[in-house]
Each structure stands twice: as C-alpha cells, then as structure tokens.
Amino acid sequence: MSNLTTATDTQATQARPRSLADDLRRRDDQALTQLLKNRPDLVNPVPADLRALAARATGAPSMTRALDLFNAFGIAVACLAARIEDPITLADLQTAVREKAPESPSELVEEIFNQLFDLGLTWGLPSSIAMVRGCRDILVAHTDDFVDAGLAHPSIGLAADAVARDGQHIATSAAQNALEFVRLTEALCRLWTTEPPNGLKTGGLSARDLARAADQLDVDVDTAALIIETAYAAGLIANDGASDSVFTATTNFDEWEQCDVGTRWALLARSWLLNDRVPGLVGERDAKENKLTALSVDLERSFALKLRLAIIRELASLPPNTSVGDSTIIERLDWRRPRKVDPRKHEFVLWTTREAATLGVTGLGALAPHGFDLINNLVPADDDIVVTTLSQHLPEPVDHVILQPDLTAIAPGPLRPELAKEIATMADVESTGGATVFRFSEQSLRRAFDLGQEASEILDFLTKLSRTPIPQPLEYAIADLAKRHGQLRIGNAACYIRCDDLALLDSVMAASEAQPLHLRRIAPSVVVTSAAPASVIARLHAIGLTPTAEGPDGGMVITRGNSRQPTAHRPQPHLRDEGAPSQRLLAAAVKALRGGEDNTERALESSSEPSRPLPPRSAPSKTLGILREAIEEGVALRIGYASSNGTTVEHMIDPVRVNAGQVTAYDHRGGDVRTFTVSRITGVEALPAIPEQVQP
C-alpha cells in the first residue's frame, strides 16, 4: 500500500506541506525507509538532515535515476502527470491517460501515481499533489511520440522467438561450460606463469600475445580476450608493474587454484558480471584508428557494469527455462528502461549473451539456476549459494579410471580431486573435457619415482583406481624403470656442498653451527643436506666461510625472486548503488536524518537574529537545500554573496533554477534575472513573503 493513501487518513486534517522537505518531515519512518531503499543514491553518503535529503532528492542526477525505475508505460503516465498543472489529482491523471489510451488499466495508473509520491517525485496531500519542479522539467521534455509509444505497452509479453527449454538440460549444459571456463582460466594462468607476455607501453596486451594465448588455449580470439579480461578482473593475473612489465599469475591464483570448481567459477562469474570493462571491444579501433587491446584502460566503459546487469536481470525476468533472441532482450530493455540511451546497445547485448554462454551463466540461451543465484547474490559472501546450485549440476565425480594397453588411463568423468592429484604425479594429462585422458610415459613415471614412490606403491594405487587390470606394457614400463631406478642411488637432498679441500670439509662437518643442517658426507669431497641452499649458505657464512651457489653446470647461480606477482593491482569495481542498501543501513539513515533535523531546527532558532547584517554562514550543501526548497515553495531568500573584489554583499533573490552549481534567480537589488555561483554564497536565509508585484 502506498504511503500516499495511508498518509491521507492521518493528514487529512493537516495543512498542505510547503515543500518536499516539509512533506518528508511528515512522512513516517517506514515511508522514509522505503524511499531510501528505492533511491539508494540518497543515502550515499547519508545527508545531514531531511532538508539536505530533499535537496539531494531534487537534484537532477538523482531524479533521473528515480525516473529510470519506471518502465515505458510508467514513464509515459508520469509524463502525462507532468503536463497537468499543480495540483495534480489521480482523477485528472486517469482522465489524461484515458484520453490518449482508453484501454490502459486504471489500477496500473494509480500504482504509478502512488509510486511517484513514494519516490519523492511528487509531494503534498492526495487532494493536491505537486510535482518536484526539476522532475516536471525532465518529463515535459519528452515528446508525444515517446509518450504514445509508452502508453501502448502497459506490460511486455514474450516475443515469438521465446523458446521453452528443458530445465535440466539448461543446467547441465551451463555447468559444463562453467567447468570448461574454469579450466581455460586455469590453463591461461599456468601458461602465463611459464611464459608471461610483455605489457605494451600503453598498458595493454599486444594483439600477437592475445592470438598466441588463443592459439595455445585452442579458442578463438574473442573467447581468449574474455578469459584474459575475466581473470584480470578476478585478480588472478596482473601486470607486475616493473619497467619491462609482464602479465603473470598472482598469489590469488595460488589460492583460487586450491578451491573447488564451484567456488572458482563463482569468483570468475561475479568478476565478469561486475566488470566495468568491455572485453568485446578488443580488436576494434578507437577514434585515432588505434586498435583497442585487451587489458588496456581503453576497455573501460562507465555504462558497462549496469548494462550487463540489466541484460542478465532481463534474462532472469523471463519465465523459467526460456531462451529468447538478442532482439527480444533489446526490446525488453527498451521497455524497462525507456529513458536510457545505451551506447552500442545492440553489440553489447550480443557480447553479453555470448559471454554469458561461454561462462556458463546461461545454457542453451536461458539463464541457468546458478546464473539466477549469481544475479541475486552479488556479494562474495553469498558465493556459497551459487556454488551449491552449480555443484548440483556438475557431472558426478568418478573414482576410477580405465587403463588401456596403449599406456593411457581414462577417467570417464571428473575425477575426484585427490585421485586426480595423485595420478597426475605419474601420468601426463593428454586431454580434458567431460573426461580426462592421462598418458603414462617414461618421463611421467620417473616423476612419480622422483617423488619417492615405489613401483609397488604405484601398482597398488593403479590397481585400486582402475576398473580394468593393469595392462602388461604399463606393468613392464613401471618395472623397467624401477629396475634402473634402483641402480642409481637417488635420495632427497636440497643441496650439496662440494669442496676439493677435504680438510676444509672436515672442519665444516665438525662445526657446531653446521649441526642443524644435518650434513651427510656421501663422498669424500661431497656433503649433502636437506636444508635449503639459502640457509646452508647463511650457516656457512656464520662459520666465516664464503660459499657460492652452484648451478647444474657448475657455474655460479644468481637466483631470481618468486615470479608470482605479489598482489592483484586490479581493484574490484565499486558496487555503487547496485543492489539495495541493507535494512540496517536504511534504519540508521532514517534515524540520522531525523536527528539532523532536530539539530538544524535548534540551530535555526538560535541564529535567526534579525539584527545581523548578513545571513548566517551555511555549508554549500545546506545552501543548495534551502535554495531548492525556496524554488519549490516560491519564496524569496536573502543571501550573502562573495563578490569578485573579495567583499561579501547581501542580495535578495527569488531563485528559479539550480543547475551545475549555478543558481538562476531574480535579483531584487539588480532588478534582473542573473546567475549566482553556489559556492560563493556564504549564507542564506528566508525572507518574509514578497509583495505579489515584485515576483518575476
């Protein structure tokens, strides 16, 4: 129920409020909370008092936002309301609407009438409603054609291209793509760990490196750009910031890699959804004919995040398991946000739907259940919901492989992580996807032996893991390698100390400082230890020796630091007024506003000394509030104004319009309409009513 109608009963006997601020003061906490919830920009930051709130609410940007909440029909009705002189009544509005579109549902018109009030775009008593002037200005600017088009569609139905799909099929198909996207991202990060591409001077990734990544991931360039941009947005890759900069995986990647598939996907999907960059632009040319490159600042678009959210929300607004074409999405976007002029909407919708499919947010063109959860839970803390939904549709993990005589092992589904990890020590992954194909080779088996496994352990593990008996060639390969493995003595040692001066080695072995290293002499001139080379060097330094690190070729080694980029440079895009503010914040805001109101009133009372030559000093925001209120109420003001010679002069003005920091007003002293700069107004005070004839 609208606050307008509830207010009717309690305020029936009261006088008409003088202004929006006055009206807001009379609204109860619930109504204020509702207002702040629907117009979250008003609490960001929380205004000092209700007057400041009204000031902000009547500012053009905020009103534009509020009007953007209306769909095409709603805004058309609002336009008609704006064409009615104050006071506006519901009956007048109904008549105006019926005149143009007789079929329009009257309850919908009433709803819009109430909504305008609830949003603080109109104010007053039900019998005489006034529209905020700025709002009226915006609305009357719309053409008849615009209004007629809006009135024609009270609601939007489904287009002919809507296809109902099988829900299960959508979910599994999307989950499969999600899995694949996670795999590709992981592959990219690994690739860039071993071969980090150089950053361009302009900050982006060269087209050649992009093509190379696409080639190595075996995807097309557009998909590669999406993977790279998403990994970047998720903080998994970053520019290392060095002078000869490279893009490489971050420490976040190491953490991410350890998570389960669902969690990994949730991060990627959220990073994609809330990205203010447009991967689809990669490869296009800018105004200067320069190609836009991935990871460059040129891909940032202020509208990207909101438009992408709007598109996915549009998908979420369709009946469940329905897919529609891009043109329908555009049609629905136009209806739902008729006043938005989105740059390159058609391409953006195309990119977004394609990207959503690649990421597995949608399957078969319809929003998947985990995609639905994602759009409804945009903060990282809610990832669990997304992960739970997604994991229901991921293929069941398998706990066995099929060993084949051609030295391959095939896991016919996603292998349980711990098993996958274990088998990866002894076999190389040959292909991934629905299943995983492992190939055993001498190198891969040697790796297992190097990790300290024994032939019997490997065979035991494989016997347990495999549904088929171990093929003879594999058994032979393991046995052969084990035999040779035994011939050469292999132990685990982190480093060795080599010295031709046996006496010196004797002294090292004997030194008490070297005891913690657990040195073992494996040959007269060679000592090994399981301690890391760095700590061995430090210990030997302590004894007063000067060792050098030796490489496999016997040459000196200069160690490089960790190649991981320590932090992700890319901050998450700010979730400004996306998602409504929490109930607690709203309650606190209302309380603060009421509190602020009391303070202001007290301050006003104490400072309203008529004898003062200049109005009391006020902060620009408060000045602005009073100015707007005065415009609404049509009252004259006395202001202190800093003139260009530095002195402060008193002016008496009838403010007309506030725009871009300028007040247009009738100046009683000059007798003409002029503009004042808001920041130069030192203070402001209401004047008693001005005689009729002076009004401009």
């Binding site: 599994t172 793509n177 075996d218 097309d220 099929i402 051609d406 996807g433 299943a435 194909v437 003879q472």
Partner: protein
Amino acid sequence: MTEGPLIVQSDKTLLLDIDNPLSGECRHAIAPFAELERAPEHIHTYRITPLGLWNARAAGHDAEQVIDTLLKYSRYSVPHALLIDIADTMGRYGRLRLLKHPAHGLVLESSDRAVLEEVLRAKKIAPLVGMRLDEDSVVVHPSARGQIKQTLLKLGWPAEDLAGYVDGQSHPIELVQDDWDLRNYQREAAENFASGGSGVVVLPCGAGKTIVGAAAMAMTKATTLILVTNTVSVHQWRRELLKRTTLTEEEIGEYSGAKKEIRPVTIATYQVLTTRKNGVYAHLDLFDEHDWGLIMYDEVHLLPAPIFRFTADIQSKRRLGLTATLVREDGREGDVFSLIGPKRYDAPWKDIEAQGYIAPADCVEVRVTLPEHERIVYATAEREERYRLAATTALKEKVVKALVDQHADDHVLVIGQYLDQLDNLSEALGAPVINGATPVKERERLYEAFRTGELPCLVVSKVANFSIDLPEANVAIQVSGSFGSRQEEAQRLGRILRPKADGRGARFYTVVSRDTVDADFAAHRQRFLAEQGYAYRIIDADDVLSPKAE
C-alpha cells in the same frame, strides 16, 4: 544424467566407450566426420579435425547432423564453443566452388563475396586466377585446378570441386564373380567412391583393397592407369585383375623399369614415373599420353612428391586412392584430401577382423638385453650409429633362430632393415634372403616356393613391406626397421593378416634391444597398431631361448 557412450573433450577428441550398449550405433554415426585415432580395448579415441569435417561435408553431411549426433550420444553436455566451432568450420567448406563455365572453362565462384575477396588477396592465389568475371566469380586456369584447391585448403577455405570429370576413353570392364563375392565393405567402399567421383578408401592390409580397385574399375568402365609401389606389386595387381575381371592379358600393360607397355589398363610404378633423366621426369607423360578415365593410387600414403605435383594437373580425371593408413609421416594428409579427394571409406581393423576377413593377430615384443661389451660400445657410439648397433645385436639372431624353431609348422617371414643382418640371419636359418638386389624373376620364384610351402621361411628386406601377397604367411619376425615408422609396422603386420585356410591366427614378433633407442622406436612404431586395438605382449628373450610351457 544420460549414460551416453561418447565423451566430448575440449581438445576436440571424442572418447567412445566400447562397453556401452550404444557404442556400435554411435561409432557409425560419428565415423563420417571424426578420425579414429586410437582403438584400444575399452575406450576408442576419435578426433574432430577441420579436414575430417570437410570430408563429411564433401560426403553430404551438414553441421546440424554432426552436432545432433554429438548431442545425442554424449554422456555429458557438449562444450558450447566446440559446437560453434564445428558449425563454423563446416560452414567454410563450399563457400567457394569450382565450376565449369561454357565460355571461360573453369571458374571459381563464391556465395560469400568477402571470402572471395579474402582469398584473391592471398599472394599464393593471385597467380592461379585470371580475369574477374563479376563480383562473385573469377576465371581459373584449368591447369591450376589442383593447385588452387590445395592452396585454398591451406587458407582454410576448401573449395568444392563441381567442375566434374572427363570420362576418358571408355573400355568395357566387368567383375567375374565365379567363385567369390564382393564383400559388403568392399562393395560399400567402391560405391562410395563411384558416387563421390574421387577420393580415398582406407582399408586394413589384407582386406582386399585390390578388389575394391577392380570394383571401382568395373563401375567406371574406362581406361585406367594404376600406380603402385613396385614391380612385384605390378604383377600382383595384374594377376588379381585377370582373375577378378573380364580383362585379358592383352588389355593389361606393365609400365616399369623393365617394360614400357601402354594398354587400356596400365599398371605403373611410382619409381619409374619419378625417374629423372637429365633433370626431367621422363615418364610423367604417361598421364597425358592416354585419355585415362580413372587413375588409381595404390598405397596413397606413400605417394611421392612429384606425383602429387603431377596429380594437381590432372584434376579432371577420376582418382581413387587406396591405403591402409592415412598416416603420412610427412604430414601431407591435407594434400591427399585436396588432390586425390576426400576420404570415401574407412573401416577399423578390428571390425574387419571381427568379420573374419583378416586373421586375428597376436603381437609379441621380445626384449633382449645387450651383453655387457655391446652396452659399452652402444653407450659410447655416435648418435646416428646407435640404432643400427642396438638393432643388429648378435643376440637377436639366436632369438630369431629359437622362434623359427618354435614355429616349424608355420610360414615364417623374417623382416629386417639391415642387409648384413639379413644375410647373417639367412645363413643361420638356412633360409633364402630377398632384398632390393634380388632379380625380379628370382623374387617371384622364391615367393612362389613360399606360397606352395616348399620354403617354410623367408628372410626379406623392406622390399617386402608392401603389396606382396603371401597368403599363407602367418608368422612375421621383425628384427629391425626404418626407425620409428608407424606405417611400416602396420604394413609388416599386414603381410600376415590374410585369413588362413585353417583359420589359424597370425603371430607378429618384434625383437627389440632393451633400454636402447631400438626400444624407443619400437614403442613409437607400435602406436598405430596399439591405437587400432592390437595389444602387444612383452616377453623376455630368455623365455624364448629356454622355453617354458607357453
């Protein structure tokens, strides 16, 4: 979750679960567009390649069918990107078409102007095309028909060749099916070829490719040029054609080093065609000298480069390629596709074996350990000498001797690469040796003696790799080979796959020196057959030398 038999991988491989009840049906459904890569016991691997998809398009399958098939049989849902990629790739075939033009001879026409513009801008295309007729078509010089197809394939826009064929001089040829029948797969292969016009038929060794050739000739009914690998093969083809068709001795000519006959059906060797005299190919005129209606390439995977070049110039002739494996060690499978034609028929070895048309084979790898002194020599030898040293160890002779003794009742072929090794073996086994130096007459005499059973054992060099019909051979012992050649391994196995009168299985031994490059090469050589489902058993040389109960 549907329990389909197929798992689609991100790298465009398909895993087919053979134990799934739907696997047979699925295999037939995916065969037209996916190449069988490996066919071991439980899970077969197929690969989707652009070439395979274009082959499928050429055979009349469209992207929708391919995608439907994948979705129908897939156990998990199929990556979206892969489906798009398939549709895109298949969509590239046929945007450009080669057509006959009444006034200009041959034209390249496009349904997609942008594609035509793109390819015309390619440096390699420019010299092959002539006048631009209109926005969508351009004249192509008739002699560039093959080359432009080859180049367009490399550019990723394979042209559909609709320019048709010249019929050549007609010549009556019929099959004579008195005491035999065309097998189902042979008929299917020949029919696929006849309806497609040109292309390649892939059948295992011993599955009767010659008969497919004869059937194709009987369907074409025109003068035919048959290109084969060597003279013995010429004689075999000739024998088969005389037996299987209405052709008479007078109608079949031999064009080889020894004879230069040109008759309605002429069988020539690759070798004579690629012989150069003063830097020119003296015999390539053979292609032009007669108005051939059909040109057949036996063992098309061995087609030498000059023949490729010449084949590019005779694109208006019907062409049939026959092979056991399309694997080319030089990676020119794309040229086979664009110059000979798309794959028209392919059958997995194990399928043919299951139908009883090739003998089941047991593959055994016998591992010998080099004696200490040879190991030292091996370890210190130059890299290029190592294989020879490892492959020709004297120990192998003893093992071969023991194996031959074990198979006293069988027909044994001992196959090797190195002539002195073969001579030594010949001496040790008391069996004659056939190598490149053996006169053709002598070879034929020995083969005949082997066929009749007079000779139980033959030692042969690589001359016997191909197209030697020794139906009774059932044991082959391989002692050395040309390094890691997969197709040589397949060919050698093929020698003993002819079904035996008594239903005996074949035994294929490979004697390998353990822990040397010999073993590495053996592993590589075995990949093709292992992938075709042949499981190699490994035994130790000691088990052969002092046999326990086997």
